[in-house]
Symmetry: C2
Subunit: 340 residues, 2 copies
DNA sequence: GGGTTTTCTGTGAACGTACACAGACTAGGT
DNA sequence: ACCTAGTCTGTGTACGTTCACAGAAAACCC
């Protein structure tokens, strides 16, 4: 049998008590900054803590307190999207800011395989977190079932799974898509198409629906190119398809800024000028929008704000406040730049 | 006094035992898949688990087992870099892949303020993780002190803090920078400059040193523009400065792909063609490299591999294997594309 | 000086699990 | 019929905290 090398044994509250010549209770009071401890005991205990190198054991603490002071942040995205999606970082930072203010530790859990899913479900069940923020959940997700079963305080960012009473915070993709498409029409574009992406997800489907809403009678299904992902390369591909179907196209709504950047690249290769020959708008107002030439007109997605609100929602539940049953939708201002 | 709403009490192993008419020990054996339990007990216990909705309590388990089966992944970057840096995502995914394979849960902790630093230090001390991977640590970091004090198995990605015996995995920035600069010279560029960034960090300083190494006698300090960050906008700014100092410049090493993309933009605005008038190379081989026109020649930084190796290093320590005292350096192939 | 309040301290129980141990029962061989 | 080995089960203890409680000591008031 292999012997596991014993890491140096950690000092416990009991060691400190012995060293300082007091009892566990008194040490506990000092550690937790409670009143009713004499100055002499306090200094002795502080010296003892320093001497033996004591750090409290959170596992023991959270066992007896029945809480961990931590909130999970679950990202459930395939590789490529996780790396590319500019929103996730903003959401994460927003959530972390709010949680940090209340002295909660945010722990992010990345799900990247079925094995991950099961392990994260166990992790959540295990009492390592008091609440959870979920970014882009899947339908029929074991994670969602665990949350409901445990009544774990939770908040979804984006759409929550169907039939689920869990709170969420998101944006109105459909209305935003309609609004920016209308602006595109108002600038006099005649033949307006869309590079629609990620139609298997709510955000993708809603953006297409908003586009259709805005065009009304003028909607032409031939002018919609469908691509699988919100990526640069899919954007370029979609744009090529559109140009082939209608060389006279003069307006394009790209389902995201990354898609728009790809489309822009395809337009340049085809020799079209933007915004001269073709006007193009994106969605997200991510860092992509300022990297392109010209800069993208787009819908601002308040990623940081989404993270903040989701965190506040979870903290509210932790404090026992009643949360609005239906979700919160954040504003999505339209940013008008040079690409249309 | 405010009453905290009591969440429904969770079922314990004891509840399951009562429900199934057996003892705690037997339930524990079923839960942990141990032998020596009769078929009848097993089925009764499984039914009882399902009925009472039992999930093991990790806090209790990790208290008694003295380990948590989790590894921390600490990201210590200011906002803007965290969002922009294409490497972090790759490192994270690589680490998660390896940890997942060994059934370890990766928990990422983002440090974004002093308050975060202290809280993360407490978190690590608390026994919530068995090991830790640190991306871009700071000198004089409380985190590093905690790790040394607890003898927590750790691996740094990038340079470890000075004087620290902790293992790390990284790349040889200096040699890589020299190699790509030499390739730039071999293509016949005569007046070669550099947009150097992040000189307050090891990676930035090493890349400049490598550039200097390669040029030898031909090194001209006037042809180095220094900018604070690895960003698109700083790259554009640095390139403008170089063009002003020497309009005849015909080769540029940008300290990162993002910097190179910015420089490319500045060159376009100045009416220079790439690679016709000016050859430009980047560093990282990030998603930036294929988004530019022309695609960037660059140094491939094996982000995913760095994450994998760091995770393997921590797992090795957890298994009690001796680790190489000095760090591991990964290969950085040069990718030759169209920009030079 | 006797009572009351306030401050301070120690002790025992609990949190939910794993593990060692002891004991009971079964099966197989002589 | 006896011993042995293997299978199965229950019990007590430990992990490191927090918290309620009980009591001691000090401070205050008439």
């Amino acid at each position: 049998m292999v012997t596991i090398p014993s890491r140096r044994k950690r000092a416990t509250i009991h060691d400190v008590a012995v060293e300082a010549g007091v009892s566990r209770g008194t040490v506990s009071r000092v550690v937790n900054n409670e009143p009713y401890v004499s100055a002499s005991s306090r200094t002795a205990i502080e010296a003892a803590i320093e001497k033996v190198g004591y750090v409290p054991n959170n596992a023991a603490r959270s066992l007896v307190m029945q809480r961990s002071e931590a909130v999970g942040f679950i990202v459930h995205e395939p590789h490529s999207l996780f790396l590319d999606d500019p929103n996730i970082g903003g959401i994460l930072l927003g959530a972390n800011t709010v949680l940090s203010r209340s002295d909660y530790q945010m722990v992010s859990l990345v799900i990247d395989s079925q094995r991950d899913t099961d392990r994260v479900a166990r992790y959540l069940s295990g009492g390592f977190v008091d609440g959870v923020i979920i970014v882009s959940a899947r339908q029929e997700d074991p994670i969602t079932r665990v949350i409901e079963k445990l009544r774990l305080p939770a908040a979804f960012v984006g759409h929550p799974p169907e039939q689920s009473p869990l709170p969420f915070v998101g944006i109105d993709n459909r209305a935003s898509a309609r609004a920016i498409t209308e602006r595109l029409m108002q600038t006099g574009r005649q033949r307006i198409g869309m590079v629609a992406a990620a139609l298997d997800r709510d955000s993708g489907a809603d953006r297409l629906a908003g586009f259709t809403d805005a065009l009304g009678d003028r909607f032409d299904p031939a002018l919609v190119a469908r691509v699988p992902l919100y990526t640069f390369s899919d954007g370029a591909e979609g744009m090529c398809a559109l140009l082939e179907r209608d060389p006279l196209i003069d307006g394009v709504f790209a389902a995201s800024d990354a898609v728009a950047a790809g489309a822009l690249d395809a337009l340049r290769q085809a020799g079209r000028s933007v915004p001269g020959d073709v006007g193009i708008v994106g969605f997200d107002d991510s860092s992509w929008a300022l990297r392109t030439q010209p800069h993208l007109s787009t819908v601002h997605q308040p990623a940081f704000g989404l993270g903040e609100r989701a965190a506040e929602c979870v903290l509210g539940q932790l404090r026992g406040e009643e949360q609005p049953a239906d979700g919160i939708l954040l504003e999505t201002p339209i940013i008008w730049r040079d690409s249309a």
